[in-house]
Each structure stands twice: as structure tokens, then as C-alpha cells.
């Protein structure tokens, strides 16, 4: 009985390690816990506060464990006349979508969870565009006006934010001449794509806040208007699940930004092992990116929904198209001398 299982484990040791330990489940969960703790400490320091201190010996590092323990033992409330199965399934599926997209991101040369070549960039964007659908389902199944308005706002914001983001990513694909994320990262060994694609990066960075739904574009869960947006009715473990989805979403888009514009795992060799070296540089870049993200979150007020849509349609989409035209001219006319 045990022999076939052990045999299976030892013959597939490398993919299992990828799925379970390093860029897989364990890494994603630990990074999520770290990201929430980091956000609370960082925002607190920007407000001249201390943040969590007393849970755990060092700087409140057990704070998220305490929160998770509490949320796991809270009562789970199903609202009256809600679609109970959908209410449950959509919240449970939500963290799976961005985690599935992370499987395509290379963490070292030839080291991704789902190690395929080809149209992985397009596939990543396609998987990530499923994420708002589950938010809409959550908001609809809860049978509450706040969740429903939050879900509608998610649709508005995603139409305004997703199109410029995809157009900006298309600029990178045209510049690199490939859709393959591993090729794109390998081409950035000499120069990061943020330099030739700076306009596209600006569009990507602004749309990134629409996709992760944080301030100044946290319109779907505007705390002062809609209590918690689409997750108002979720209690206890299901609330934990939706927050997990939120932070894995941030991680996935952050990894995508690093992959497209900041050279992914590339960096000066510190460790001899390419996997360790790639892990170090990816984490280093992620931490800096998260610090910038949190600084923007704490600095800016929330836009109104019409302002956000105007930002997307009037400014970001034309800028992204301009970036695309400049990219085509630069690559095929200036550098290669003719179409």
C-alpha cells in the first residue's frame, strides 16, 4: 500500500517540491502572512505608530497567527435568502485563481511550478481575468445591498483597469518579441524593460492599483461607503479565505510586474545556486515593491467611481496605445531599420 505512494513521491520529487514547497503552496501562504504583517507594521510606522508589538517576542511577528486562530474559531453566518452553496464555493475558490496564475511565473532559469514554454504571458493574464468573476459571484450570493454594489463597482473598475493593463503588457510582449515569460525574463539580463517601456510601466503601475483594489482605487470595498464591499457578509474562516485571496492577488500582480519590467530573478550572483539566487532577488524586489505600494495606499485619498473610470478610459488607454505605437516604431524602424 505504502510502496506505490513512496515510489510516486521519489520519481516526482522535483515537481512535488515545486508545487508544495518553494514557489508553491508553502511559499505563497508564508509570503501572504508576511505581507499582511509587513503592511500593518509599515502603515503603522508611516503614521508614527508601532503596529503589532506584543504578539510574539519580536515585533509582533505572531500577530497574523493570532488573527487566523481567532477567525478559524468564529461562527460562520449564512445570511438569510443567500445562495448558500455559491456563497461558500466562490469564497473558497477565490484564492485559487491568483495562486494558479503564479504557477506560470519563473523563479529561476527554467524553474516555474508549471514549467511550460510558449504563450504563458497571455495565459497568466487570462487566468487573472477570472478573479473579478468570483468577486461578483460573492457579492451576488450574499444577498446584501453593500456586497451587490461592491460587486458592480468591481466590474466597472476592472473594465477601466484591465484593458490598459493588458495593453501595457502587450507593449512588453512586442518589445521582447515573445509571449513567453521565461524568455522575457532571460532577455532582461542586460537591461530591465522598465527603461524602454517606461510609459507602459506607468500605465501598468496605475492599473495595478485597480487590479489589487487598494487605495486610491479601493472603490469596491470603500470602507466609509460600503462596509467591507463584496466581503461584508463573510465571517470567520470564510472572511480569512477572502482576505487570503486578496493578498495572493497582490502577490500575483507584483510578481507579474517584476517579471515584465524589473528583470524577474535576474540580479548579481550572490548564491552559487541559481534557484537560491533567483529566490533572493525576487523576494528583494517584491519587498521593495510592496513598500512602494503601501506608501501609495496610505498617501492618497480614494477616487470616486466616475473619476476612476475616466482615469482608465481617457488617460490610461490612450497612453497604453501610444506606448504600443512607440514600441513598434522603436523596435521595427529605429533598431532594425525597416518593417
Amino acid at each position: 500500500m505504502i510502496d506505490p505512494i513512496l515510489d510516486f513521491i521519489f520519481t516526482n520529487l522535483d515537481p512535488l517540491i515545486r508545487i508544495i514547497i518553494y514557489p508553491g503552496i508553502t511559499f505563497i501562504m508564508l509570503f501572504t502572512i508576511f505581507a499582511v504583517w509587513y503592511q500593518r507594521k509599515f502603515l503603522a510606522r508611516l503614521m508614527l505608530r508601532m503596529g503589532p508589538v506584543h504578539a510574539g517576542k519580536f515585533a509582533g511577528w505572531l500577530q497574523l497567527i493570532a488573527d487566523s486562530l481567532k477567525l478559524l474559531t468564529k461562527e460562520i453566518i449564512f445570511p438569510e435568502h443567500s445562495y448558500k452553496k455559491l456563497f461558500l464555493i466562490s469564497a473558497i475558490t477565490l484564492p485559487v485563481i491568483p495562486a494558479a496564475a503564479i504557477a506560470l511565473v519563473p523563479f529561476a532559469p527554467g524553474y516555474a511550478i508549471f514549467n511550460v514554454r510558449g504563450y504563458t504571458g497571455i495565459l497568466f493574464l487570462a487566468i487573472m481575468s477570472l478573479y473579478p468573476i468570483f468577486i461578483v459571484l460573492m457579492g451576488w450570493a450574499s444577498n446584501n445591498k453593500f456586497t451587490l454594489i461592491g460587486a458592480f463597482r468591481t466590474i466597472y473598475l476592472d473594465v477601466a483597469g484591465e484593458i490598459p493593463l493588458f495593453l501595457a503588457a502587450l507593449g512588453v510582449f512586442v518589445w521582447a518579441g515573445t509571449y513567453d515569460l521565461q524568455d522575457i525574463v532571460a532577455q532582461q539580463a542586460t537591461m530591465w524593460f522598465v527603461i524602454p517601456q517606461f510609459l507602459g510601466f506607468l500605465v501598468f503601475f496605475i492599473s495595478y492599483f485597480a487590479m489589487i483594489e487598494k487605495a486610491p482605487l479601493d472603490i469596491p470595498e470603500a470602507e466609509t461607503e460600503l462596509v467591507f464591499g463584496y466581503r461584508t457578509e463573510y465571517t470567520g474562516a470564510l472572511f480569512l479565505d477572502t482576505m487570503l485571496g486578496d493578498y495572493i492577488n497582490v502577490l500575483a500582480w507584483g510578481l507579474m510586474m517584476i517579471t515584465l519590467y524589473f528583470g524577474g530573478y535576474n540580479g548579481p550572483a550572490i548564491f552559487a545556486d541559481p534557484v537560491l539566487n533567483g529566490a533572493f532577488w525576487i523576494l528583494f524586489k517584491l519587498i521593495i515593491l510592496l513598500a512602494i505600494t503601501y506608501t501609495v495606499i496610505i498617501s492618497y485619498a480614494r477616487l470616486r467611481i466616475d473619476q476612476a473610470i475616466r482615469l482608465g478610459w481617457y488617460y490610461l488607454i490612450p497612453l497604453a496605445l501610444l506606448n504600443l505605437i512607440i514600441t513598434v516604431i522603436l523596435k521595427y524602424v529605429v533598431l532594425e531599420g525597416g518593417v
Binding site: R40, R49, P52, H54, S68, K70, F78, Y234
Partner: protein
Amino acid sequence: MSGNGEYKAGLLEKMPKTIRKMFNWGRSFSLWPVHLVTGCCSPEYMQLFGPRYDLERWGVLPLASSRQSDVMIFVGNVARKMMLRAKRVYEQMPEPKWVYVIGACASSKGPFPESYSLVRVKDYMKVDMFVAGCPPKPEAIHYGFLKLREKVLNEVGGGGSAETVKPTQ
């Protein structure tokens, strides 16, 4: 699982002592209050989340939502009409939940003993922590939170105060 206050807190009582202590530790460091402004002790309470008194050091995270909170906070005088709304917010909160009453008015009608409209919170629901004062200083409210944390930490059963003494009307 019905949201009307009928909660059977039996599962955690049956667990071994170490696991119960672990969950109590988690709860004690994660008391999320729902901020229901019933009266004028509220500015004293709001200061707790600013730079000087920073209650987030103890894991207390102020929330706008009742569905995710643990501690129901009455800040200041509670009128009879307000009590209806407060009861509704209280019933929206998932178990286990605790009640924390700030100020003399909400505790014992304070300077208005013969008022027609003020009510005492303890007549309507089981209260876990009172803080006296008119208004109490932020240090006092902070101290009350630490006392409430100790109470949660040393709880034996499932925790929280589910019973209601008197119907609202």
C-alpha cells in the same frame, strides 16, 4: 450557524486544555472592536488608535463592520432608541463576542439618574468590562482593554457573552 444568537459553544470546551489555551491566546491578541458611536465618550476612544496610545500594539484593529468584529463597544450614553440599533449590531456579530462599556452614562446612567430616555447597557446584555469616568481618560480605556484581554485569555468555555437579559422592548 443562524445568526440569531443561538450558538452552541460546545466544541471548544471538549478540546484538550493545550488547544483551548492556544485558541484563547489567539483570541486575546485579536480583539477587533466595532465602533458604534452612542455618545460623547467617542473622541476619547478614537485617540486609542492614534500615535500616542496605539492599541494596535495589542492586536486591536478598529473595523467598520460588525460581521467581522469581536468586541461590541458602547461609547457614552445609550438612549432607548439607540439601544434598538445597538442590539441589532450586536446580533449581527458572530460568536464569540464580548461587550465593553465605556463611560458612566452607559454603565449606570451617570449624571442623569432620573432620565426618561437613558438606559443601562447591563439591563439588556451581559457586559464583560466597564470603564468608569465622565469621560474616562484614554489610559483608562486602554487599561480596560488589557483587562478584557486577560479575561479572554483565561476563559474556560467557548467564550463570549451570548445571553441577553431582557428583550429590547
